[in-house]
Amino acid sequence: MEIPYTIETREDTGVNNAKLGIWLFLASEVMLFGALFTTYILLRIGSADDWSQLNDILNVPLATLNTVVLISSSVTMVMSWASLMMKDFKKYKLYMGLTILCSFGFLIIKYFEYSAKFEHHLYPSTNTFLAIYFTMTALHGLHVIGGIIVNTYFWGPGSKMWNTQPERFTNRIEIAGLYWHFVDLVWIFLFPVLYLL
């Protein structure tokens, strides 16, 4: 038996299953990162050090570049979805490819940041600020990697669905886009909290 409302929306709720599901998942993700931001606040308030001095060792230009990269990737992500709605599969491939490239760019820049820290013998165990910095950015990085895996699947083998069930495939890209926007959103919060304040 087919599961109802996988593609079409249910009239009285106004959504299909996947969209409700991804929003619930994102709600739990909000609680996950919310707990970590709370941890940050509690540790900073209780700390004997002045964290606005401690974060001077972080590289603001690289982080700014990464912010630009992630905002661009969210734009290309939304464009890939819009192209599918305009039945332009070639453009979808292009924009989705750009999104994936941007995500890799983010990780490469992050890698340079991390290795610069390790070269100066700055580790998570150095102080509590670096501990929370590494924990939060690494967890965010894991989410980026998750996004890359999903998006690459939809760019490559998963895109075959376009030929058989175009509507369902468009929905899938929207869901992936919602997740990707959430990952970008977390960075928009991480950037000022960790690097600037």
């Binding site: 969209k19 700014t64 939304v78 929207e174 886009g177 919602l178 926007h181 970008d184 000022p192």
Partner: protein
């Protein structure tokens, strides 16, 4: 909430980040970069409006 709504929300927050970053840069005595940051904020607003126009027919839900 559709991706369209979330994208608008995200772009609005990005605008706020750009403005906030500009203020931070002013504090750090980097007025040139601050102006760049403010300009990118304005750029994002322009983009947001054009995005809304382009996807006029897509549902917010």
């Amino acid at each position: 909430m559709s991706l369209k709504t979330f994208h608008i929300f995200f772009i609005s927050l990005s605008v706020l980040t750009a403005i906030g970053f500009g203020v931070w840069l002013l504090n750090e005595n980097a007025p040139v970069f601050a102006v760049l940051s403010f300009l990118s904020g304005i750029g994002l607003i322009v983009y947001g409006i054009s995005f809304l126009r382009k996807l006029k027919h897509v549902s917010f839900i």
